[in-house]
Protein backbone atom coordinates (compact mmCIF):
# COMPACT_ATOMS: atom_id res chain seq x y z
CA UNK A 1 0.00 0.00 0.00
CA UNK A 2 2.85 2.32 0.90
CA UNK A 3 4.59 1.54 -2.40
CA UNK A 4 1.37 2.21 -4.30
CA UNK A 5 1.02 5.54 -2.53
CA UNK A 6 4.61 6.49 -3.20
CA UNK A 7 4.14 5.64 -6.88
CA UNK A 8 1.06 7.82 -7.00
CA UNK A 9 2.96 10.72 -5.45
CA UNK A 10 5.81 10.38 -7.94
CA UNK A 11 3.35 10.07 -10.80
CA UNK A 12 1.50 13.21 -9.67
CA UNK A 13 4.75 15.13 -9.46
CA UNK A 14 5.57 14.15 -13.04
CA UNK A 15 2.08 15.08 -14.21
CA UNK A 16 2.47 18.50 -12.59
CA UNK A 17 5.72 18.95 -14.48
CA UNK A 18 3.93 18.27 -17.77
CA UNK A 19 4.97 14.65 -18.37
CA UNK A 20 2.39 13.20 -20.78
CA UNK A 21 3.40 9.57 -20.14
CA UNK A 22 2.68 10.12 -16.43
CA UNK A 23 -0.69 11.68 -17.31
CA UNK A 24 -1.53 8.56 -19.38
CA UNK A 25 -0.48 6.36 -16.46
CA UNK A 26 -2.64 8.38 -14.07
CA UNK A 27 -5.67 8.14 -16.37
CA UNK A 28 -5.22 4.37 -16.71
CA UNK A 29 -4.81 3.96 -12.97
CA UNK A 30 -7.80 6.07 -11.95
CA UNK A 31 -10.27 5.22 -14.70
CA UNK A 32 -11.65 1.95 -13.13
CA UNK A 33 -12.42 3.78 -9.87
CA UNK A 34 -13.95 6.78 -11.63
CA UNK A 35 -16.01 4.60 -13.98
CA UNK A 36 -17.34 2.58 -11.03
CA UNK A 37 -18.34 5.70 -9.10
CA UNK A 38 -19.83 7.44 -12.11
CA UNK A 39 -21.96 4.37 -12.89
CA UNK A 40 -23.19 4.25 -9.30
CA UNK A 41 -24.17 7.94 -9.22
CA UNK A 42 -24.87 8.58 -12.90
CA UNK A 43 -27.66 11.08 -13.57
CA UNK A 44 -30.14 9.45 -15.95
CA UNK A 45 -29.86 11.97 -18.76
CA UNK A 46 -26.08 12.31 -18.76
CA UNK A 47 -23.66 10.31 -20.85
CA UNK A 48 -21.27 8.20 -18.78
CA UNK A 49 -18.35 9.10 -21.04
CA UNK A 50 -19.04 12.84 -20.83
CA UNK A 51 -19.21 12.66 -17.05
CA UNK A 52 -15.94 10.70 -16.86
CA UNK A 53 -14.30 13.35 -19.02
CA UNK A 54 -15.67 16.13 -16.77
CA UNK A 55 -14.35 14.32 -13.68
CA UNK A 56 -10.87 13.97 -15.18
CA UNK A 57 -10.89 17.64 -16.19
CA UNK A 58 -11.69 18.64 -12.61
CA UNK A 59 -9.01 16.33 -11.26
CA UNK A 60 -6.36 17.78 -13.57
CA UNK A 61 -7.49 21.34 -12.85
CA UNK A 62 -7.39 20.77 -9.07
CA UNK A 63 -4.27 18.62 -8.98
CA UNK A 64 -2.32 21.38 -7.23
CA UNK A 65 -4.87 21.34 -4.42
CA UNK A 66 -4.13 17.68 -3.62
CA UNK A 67 -1.92 17.85 -0.53
CA UNK A 68 -1.20 14.13 -0.21
CA UNK A 69 -2.50 13.94 3.37
CA UNK A 70 -5.19 11.45 2.26
CA UNK A 71 -4.76 8.61 -0.26
CA UNK A 72 -5.19 9.75 -3.85
CA UNK A 73 -8.11 7.36 -4.36
CA UNK A 74 -10.09 9.00 -1.53
CA UNK A 75 -9.53 12.46 -2.97
CA UNK A 76 -10.51 11.26 -6.46
CA UNK A 77 -13.64 9.57 -5.07
CA UNK A 78 -14.67 12.83 -3.44
CA UNK A 79 -14.14 14.86 -6.61
CA UNK A 80 -16.06 12.25 -8.65
CA UNK A 81 -19.03 12.06 -6.29
CA UNK A 82 -19.21 15.86 -6.05
CA UNK A 83 -19.15 16.15 -9.86
CA UNK A 84 -22.00 13.62 -10.16
CA UNK A 85 -23.88 15.40 -7.38
CA UNK A 86 -23.56 18.78 -9.15
CA UNK A 87 -24.77 17.18 -12.38
CA UNK A 88 -27.78 15.72 -10.55
CA UNK A 89 -28.77 19.24 -9.47
CA UNK A 90 -29.40 20.12 -13.12
CA UNK A 91 -31.89 17.29 -13.47
CA UNK A 92 -35.48 18.02 -12.60
CA UNK A 93 -36.80 15.88 -9.77
CA UNK A 94 -39.57 13.63 -10.98
CA UNK A 95 -42.73 14.43 -8.96
CA UNK A 96 -43.87 10.80 -8.60
CA UNK A 97 -43.55 7.33 -10.05
CA UNK A 98 -46.69 5.61 -11.31
CA UNK A 99 -47.40 1.91 -11.78
CA UNK A 100 -47.83 2.52 -15.54
CA UNK A 101 -44.21 3.76 -15.74
CA UNK A 102 -42.81 0.41 -14.58
CA UNK A 103 -41.53 -2.47 -16.66
CA UNK A 104 -43.06 -5.96 -16.27
CA UNK A 105 -40.03 -7.09 -14.23
CA UNK A 106 -40.31 -4.11 -11.89
CA UNK A 107 -44.03 -4.79 -11.40
CA UNK A 108 -43.15 -8.39 -10.48
CA UNK A 109 -40.71 -7.13 -7.84
CA UNK A 110 -43.43 -5.01 -6.27
CA UNK A 111 -45.92 -7.88 -6.30
CA UNK A 112 -43.34 -10.13 -4.67
CA UNK A 113 -42.64 -7.50 -2.00
CA UNK A 114 -46.34 -7.20 -1.21
CA UNK A 115 -47.07 -10.94 -1.27
CA UNK A 116 -44.23 -12.32 0.82
CA UNK A 117 -41.97 -11.38 3.72
CA UNK A 118 -39.03 -13.41 2.38
CA UNK A 119 -35.99 -11.90 0.71
CA UNK A 120 -36.47 -11.26 -3.00
CA UNK A 121 -35.17 -14.07 -5.23
CA UNK A 122 -31.71 -13.42 -6.67
CA UNK A 123 -33.18 -13.47 -10.17
CA UNK A 124 -35.09 -10.30 -9.31
CA UNK A 125 -32.09 -8.38 -7.98
CA UNK A 126 -31.43 -6.58 -11.24
CA UNK A 127 -35.09 -5.50 -11.60
CA UNK A 128 -35.00 -4.41 -7.94
CA UNK A 129 -31.97 -2.25 -8.69
CA UNK A 130 -33.75 -0.65 -11.65
CA UNK A 131 -36.83 -0.04 -9.52
CA UNK A 132 -34.72 1.58 -6.80
CA UNK A 133 -33.06 3.80 -9.41
CA UNK A 134 -36.48 4.90 -10.63
CA UNK A 135 -37.59 5.64 -7.09
CA UNK A 136 -34.38 7.62 -6.56
CA UNK A 137 -35.37 9.89 -9.46
CA UNK A 138 -38.20 11.17 -7.28
CA UNK A 139 -35.74 12.34 -4.62
CA UNK A 140 -33.53 15.41 -4.37
CA UNK A 141 -29.81 15.08 -5.29
CA UNK A 142 -28.82 15.01 -1.60
CA UNK A 143 -31.31 12.25 -0.84
CA UNK A 144 -30.27 10.25 -3.90
CA UNK A 145 -26.63 10.51 -2.94
CA UNK A 146 -27.16 9.39 0.64
CA UNK A 147 -29.39 6.43 -0.31
CA UNK A 148 -26.89 5.29 -2.94
CA UNK A 149 -23.95 5.53 -0.57
CA UNK A 150 -25.59 4.04 2.52
CA UNK A 151 -27.95 1.42 1.10
CA UNK A 152 -26.65 0.49 -2.35
CA UNK A 153 -22.90 0.82 -1.84
CA UNK A 154 -23.22 -0.05 1.86
CA UNK A 155 -20.65 2.54 2.93
CA UNK A 156 -19.94 3.18 6.59
CA UNK A 157 -20.73 6.50 8.28
CA UNK A 158 -17.03 7.40 8.20
CA UNK A 159 -16.81 6.69 4.47
CA UNK A 160 -19.92 8.76 3.73
CA UNK A 161 -18.48 11.62 5.79
CA UNK A 162 -15.22 11.45 3.89
CA UNK A 163 -16.88 11.36 0.46
CA UNK A 164 -19.50 14.03 1.06
CA UNK A 165 -17.78 16.26 3.61
CA UNK A 166 -21.01 16.33 5.65
CA UNK A 167 -21.01 16.13 9.48
CA UNK A 168 -22.02 12.81 11.13
CA UNK A 169 -25.28 14.34 12.35
CA UNK A 170 -26.12 15.68 8.90
CA UNK A 171 -25.39 12.27 7.35
CA UNK A 172 -27.70 10.54 9.84
CA UNK A 173 -30.49 13.10 9.47
CA UNK A 174 -30.31 13.09 5.67
CA UNK A 175 -30.24 9.27 5.55
CA UNK A 176 -33.31 9.10 7.78
CA UNK A 177 -35.25 11.72 5.82
CA UNK A 178 -34.28 10.27 2.44
CA UNK A 179 -35.40 6.83 3.51
CA UNK A 180 -38.66 8.26 4.79
CA UNK A 181 -39.34 9.97 1.44
CA UNK A 182 -38.45 6.83 -0.48
CA UNK A 183 -40.81 4.84 1.74
CA UNK A 184 -43.60 7.28 0.92
CA UNK A 185 -43.07 6.81 -2.84
CA UNK A 186 -42.90 3.02 -2.50
CA UNK A 187 -46.07 2.97 -0.40
CA UNK A 188 -47.86 5.06 -3.01
CA UNK A 189 -46.83 2.59 -5.73
CA UNK A 190 -47.91 -0.43 -3.71
CA UNK A 191 -51.28 1.16 -2.90
CA UNK A 192 -51.86 1.92 -6.56
CA UNK A 193 -51.77 -1.78 -7.35
CA UNK A 194 -53.93 -2.82 -4.39
CA UNK A 195 -57.26 -4.31 -5.61
Amino acid sequence: MQDERWDATACLARVRMGDEAAACQLVERLSPLILKLVRAHLPRRTSEEDLVQTVFMRIFAKLDQFSGTVPLEHWVARVTVNTCFNQLKYERVRPELRWADLSVEQEEVLRELAASTDELPAAQNYAARELVERLLECLSPEDRLIITLVHLEEKSLADVRQITGWSPTLVKVRAFRARHKMKKHLKQLLQENRP
Binding site: V27, K36, F60, Y126, A128, R129, I147, K183
Partner: protein
Protein backbone atom coordinates in the same frame (compact mmCIF):
# COMPACT_ATOMS: atom_id res chain seq x y z
CA UNK B 1 -41.04 -2.54 12.19
CA UNK B 2 -43.85 -1.44 9.90
CA UNK B 3 -44.48 -3.58 6.80
CA UNK B 4 -43.47 -0.71 4.49
CA UNK B 5 -40.14 -0.35 6.33
CA UNK B 6 -39.47 -4.02 5.96
CA UNK B 7 -40.50 -3.98 2.27
CA UNK B 8 -38.17 -1.07 1.54
CA UNK B 9 -35.31 -2.79 3.37
CA UNK B 10 -35.81 -5.97 1.32
CA UNK B 11 -35.97 -3.96 -1.89
CA UNK B 12 -32.77 -2.07 -1.05
CA UNK B 13 -30.94 -5.27 -0.05
CA UNK B 14 -31.92 -6.91 -3.34
CA UNK B 15 -30.84 -3.81 -5.28
CA UNK B 16 -27.48 -3.73 -3.49
CA UNK B 17 -26.95 -7.39 -4.34
CA UNK B 18 -27.64 -6.83 -8.05
CA UNK B 19 -24.61 -7.62 -10.18
CA UNK B 20 -22.85 -4.49 -11.40
CA UNK B 21 -20.98 -4.39 -14.67
CA UNK B 22 -17.27 -4.44 -13.88
CA UNK B 23 -15.56 -1.27 -15.06
CA UNK B 24 -13.12 -1.88 -17.86
CA UNK B 25 -10.49 0.42 -19.26
CA UNK B 26 -11.69 3.68 -20.74
CA UNK B 27 -12.56 3.55 -24.43
CA UNK B 28 -9.74 4.92 -26.58
CA UNK B 29 -11.83 7.91 -27.73
CA UNK B 30 -12.58 8.98 -24.14
CA UNK B 31 -8.95 8.53 -23.10
CA UNK B 32 -7.87 10.68 -26.05
CA UNK B 33 -10.39 13.38 -25.08
CA UNK B 34 -9.22 13.27 -21.45
CA UNK B 35 -5.57 13.59 -22.46
CA UNK B 36 -6.51 16.42 -24.81
CA UNK B 37 -8.09 18.22 -21.83
CA UNK B 38 -4.95 17.59 -19.80
CA UNK B 39 -2.77 19.13 -22.54
CA UNK B 40 -5.03 22.22 -22.61
CA UNK B 41 -4.89 22.58 -18.82
CA UNK B 42 -1.11 21.98 -18.75
CA UNK B 43 -0.59 24.61 -21.48
CA UNK B 44 -2.84 27.07 -19.69
CA UNK B 45 -1.01 26.38 -16.44
CA UNK B 46 2.16 28.23 -17.53
CA UNK B 47 1.15 31.79 -16.61
CA UNK B 48 -0.16 30.54 -13.25
CA UNK B 49 3.06 31.33 -11.29
CA UNK B 50 2.12 35.02 -11.66
CA UNK B 51 -1.23 34.41 -10.04
CA UNK B 52 0.02 34.37 -6.39
CA UNK B 53 1.91 37.64 -7.01
CA UNK B 54 -1.24 39.20 -8.45
CA UNK B 55 -3.29 37.94 -5.48
CA UNK B 56 -0.79 39.39 -2.98
CA UNK B 57 -0.76 42.68 -4.82
CA UNK B 58 -4.53 42.82 -4.75
CA UNK B 59 -4.56 42.02 -1.02
CA UNK B 60 -1.99 44.79 -0.34
CA UNK B 61 -4.06 47.27 -2.36
CA UNK B 62 -7.18 46.36 -0.36
CA UNK B 63 -5.33 46.79 2.95
CA UNK B 64 -3.98 50.20 1.84
CA UNK B 65 -7.46 51.26 0.77
CA UNK B 66 -8.93 50.33 4.16
CA UNK B 67 -6.09 52.14 6.00
CA UNK B 68 -6.63 55.27 3.88
CA UNK B 69 -10.37 55.12 4.52
CA UNK B 70 -9.89 54.77 8.30
CA UNK B 71 -7.38 57.62 8.30
CA UNK B 72 -9.77 59.83 6.31
CA UNK B 73 -12.68 59.13 8.65
CA UNK B 74 -10.53 59.79 11.74
CA UNK B 75 -9.38 63.13 10.24
CA UNK B 76 -12.97 64.22 9.66
CA UNK B 77 -13.87 63.31 13.26
CA UNK B 78 -10.99 65.39 14.59
CA UNK B 79 -12.28 68.53 12.89
CA UNK B 80 -13.66 70.79 15.56
CA UNK B 81 -16.92 72.61 15.38
CA UNK B 82 -14.99 75.88 14.74
CA UNK B 83 -13.49 74.49 11.58
CA UNK B 84 -16.95 73.83 10.26
CA UNK B 85 -18.22 77.22 11.45
CA UNK B 86 -15.31 79.03 9.79
CA UNK B 87 -15.95 77.18 6.57
CA UNK B 88 -19.64 78.07 6.74
CA UNK B 89 -18.84 81.71 7.39
CA UNK B 90 -16.54 81.81 4.38
CA UNK B 91 -19.24 80.32 2.19
CA UNK B 92 -21.78 82.82 3.49
CA UNK B 93 -19.42 85.73 2.81
CA UNK B 94 -18.79 84.64 -0.73
CA UNK B 95 -22.52 84.13 -1.22
CA UNK B 96 -23.40 87.58 0.13
CA UNK B 97 -20.95 89.27 -2.20
Amino acid sequence: MKPIDEQLSRLLRAAAAAPQAQPHALPFAVEARVLGDWRTIAARGEPLPLLPVFRRGLACACVLMVVALVFGVSQIRHLTKDNWTTSSEMVNLVWMQ
